[in-house]
């Protein structure tokens, strides 16, 4: 099966003062199409650092990274922006919705950045929100929605452009247990429909619900905890 993520020997060094910090130490990772993977690790283990690189928001100090067969390390800033738009759907811990836009407008954004016209984007965003049970919340602004609803809007925004990879960083970190379960169920459902999902978390209970789990500690990946 096709490799969505193909990362080899990723190293990320941070220079803090005279000390060098190895946030990622020789990380190699393969994620295939339709995988449902959790990356589990304690605080400070390097989860966010890894997620930033996998999400094309940052460049590793050394190593190789192919996302859906595109070589990330050779891409320009604008190319990376385009890859983020087309290949990745981000779900953040704090939802990261734009506060002044309505739910519908938030979901439309990735399509608009692709240059799609408004009518078409609006139609597709309405469908997605409908599927996620937010039919009656289209014109609500984020501050008029509950945390669980906001995260569902964020998921709609992540999947609207049918990206090959959905990347979630602590997606349940700001939710109560009921809403957390909702989000996990949505991910499971999306996975059965063929989506590739990588969830980064420190929560064992969340990780257990995924198909596969890899562990990260002190910047190193392993198959066992």
């Amino acid at each position: 099966m096709k490799c969505i993520i193909e990362a080899k020997n990723l190293i990320k060094l941070y220079q803090s003062g005279s000390e060098e910090l190895r946030a990622l130490d020789n990380v190699s990772l393969q994620v295939r199409e339709n995988d449902y993977l959790a990356i589990l690790g304690p605080s400070g283990s390097g989860k966010s650092t890894l997620m930033n690189i996998l999400g094309c928001l940052d460049i590793p100090t050394s190593g190789e990274y192919f996302l859906d067969e595109e070589n990330i390390l050779e891409s320009s800033e604008d190319k990376l922006a385009e890859l983020r738009n087309k290949k990745i759907g981000f779900v953040f811990q704090k939802f990261n919705l734009l506060p002044r836009l309505t739910a519908l407008q938030n979901v439309m954004l990735p399509l608009l950045y692709r240059g799609m016209d408004e009518k078409q984007a609006e139609q597709r965003a309405t469908e997605k929100l409908d599927i996620l049970g937010l039919k009656n919340r289209l014109s609500h602004r984020p501050n008029e929605l509950s945390g669980g609803q906001q995260q569902r809007v964020a998921i709609a925004r992540a999947i609207i452009g049918n990206p090959p990879l959905i990347l979630a960083d602590e997606p349940t970190g700001n939710l109560d247990s009921k809403s957390s379960l909702d989000v996990i169920n949505i991910f499971a459902e999306l996975n059965t429909q063929g989506n590739t999902i990588v969830v980064i978390t420190h929560d064992v209970e969340v990780a257990e619900k995924m198909e596969k789990v890899v562990y990260i500690k002190d910047g190193r990946l392993s198959k066992t905890s």
Binding site: A81, P110, L112, Y113
Partner: protein, 396 residues
């Protein structure tokens, strides 16, 4: 992203910050209104100068006593006759002017009177409403005739249009004169005195009865054509030096209408430039205000910018968005400023400041407000566009 949608986002962001936007635009409003008014005042001033001088022939040269110092040997009719001998001068004649009471029956008013030669009519393009102008015979026979300016005539008629002044006797400074003509209304006022409020008598008569032989006349000389003006002035100066050995040409001022017109236009322009400079300073200050607000806005929205970058916004798109925001804010201020400027015009005309609204004033105002937005919005927008996506996302 298509421009239309980007623009929509810009408007949404501005609209949610209505009050801040309004406060930010205040400076731009004042600056643009000032620019609009400056252009209006400039145009009004120019129009006024042109109108004031419209009757004045650019070939007209005035020779008058210098402002300062005593005239030891005053100008006289014989100077005018000598000037006229110059090949560069077609005609030259003296004028004497003064102010006094002018009355007809029981009606009396104060006005100016001028003792003139018949050529004066031609040089000033006077036309008559009634009667005839002073003739050469009136001058040589020393007829005590008078021509009335239009407004003086109206005053003396005391609102009764049936009164016929031609042939009537009026008094000027208690001397009796017979009215033989009334001028058409000129409507404009020359610099200093208005001919509509003047009366005109033959030169020698005026000198004898109204002003006395010691009065200092002014000589009006008409250059043969515009090219001759400088040569005519040179001839006049040398004649003055020759003819007034005591005191010399320095006792007199020689001014040609062309350079007076140019000087008046120049001073109107200087005034406009000064006001324009003030307006630009106001806009610069307001631009700094915009820059400040944009910086605050970028800071507040750091996390949003990170999110936009994560979902695929390119650097150029963020730049365009924030720059458009600054430009829209300043343009809104510009539009309000032009409207306020337009609303202020009646107040200016109430204080009889000449001001003419014009399309170029509107466009210049809007252009400057847009430039302010672009110039001062660029740096904050660039800062937003250059934010590192990770740091922006992590920002709380």
């Amino acid at each position: 992203m298509q421009l239309k949608q980007l623009f929509k986002m810009v408007l949404i962001n501005i609209y949610t910050n209505k009050i801040r936007t309004f406060l930010t635009t205040l400076g731009v409003i004042v600056g643009t209104a000032t620019i609009f008014l400056v252009v209006a005042i400039g145009k009004g001033g120019e129009a006024q100068v042109n109108q004031q001088y419209s009757r004045l022939n650019v070939g007209t040269i005035m020779v008058m006593p210098a402002m300062r110092g005593k005239v030891i040997s005053p100008l006289s009719k014989s100077d005018a006759e000598l000037f006229q001998e110059s090949p560069y001068i077609s005609v030259a004649f003296p004028i004497l002017s003064g102010r006094g009471d002018i009355s007809y029956n029981s009606i009396s008013c104060t006005g100016s009177f001028s003792a003139i030669e018949p050529e004066f009519q031609e040089v000033n393009h006077f036309t008559l409403k009634e009667g005839s102008f002073l003739s050469a015979e009136d001058e040589s026979n020393q007829n005590k005739y008078v021509i009335l300016g239009a407004e003086i005539a109206e005053t003396l008629k005391d609102g009764d249009p049936s009164v016929n002044l031609i042939g009537e006797t009026i008094t000027v400074s208690s001397r009796r004169f017979k009215v033989i003509g009334i001028l058409d209304l000129l409507g404009d006022s020359g610099p200093g005195l208005s001919y509509d409020e003047s009366v005109f008598v033959p030169y020698t008569v005026g000198q004898k009865y109204l002003l006395g032989s010691k009065a200092n006349p002014t000589i009006v000389a008409q250059a043969a054509d515009i090219e001759s003006v400088q040569n005519a002035i040179a001839d006049i100066t040398s004649i003055l030096d020759e003819n007034h050995r005591i005191g010399g040409a320095e006792q007199f001022r020689v001014r040609d209408a062309g350079s007076r017109l140019a000087a008046a236009q120049e001073s109107a322009r200087t005034m406009s430039l000064l006001l324009l400079a003030v307006a630009i300073v106001v806009l610069i200050v307001s631009g700094i205000g915009i820059m400040n607000v944009m910086f605050v806005s970028v800071k507040e929205r750091t996390k949003e910018i990170g999110t936009l970058k994560a979902i695929g916004a390119k650097k150029k798109e963020i730049l365009t968005q924030f720059l458009s925001e600054a430009v829209v804010i300043s343009l809104v201020g510009g539009i309000i400023g032009v409207i306020i400027g337009g609303a202020t015009l009646p107040i200016l005309s109430y204080f009889s400041l000449p001001a003419l609204p014009s399309l170029s004033g509107v466009l210049l105002g809007l252009l400057f407000s847009a430039i302010t937005g672009i110039f001062f919005g660029f740096y904050p927008a660039l800062k937003a566009a250059s934010l590192n996506p990770i740091e922006a996302l992590r920002y709380e």
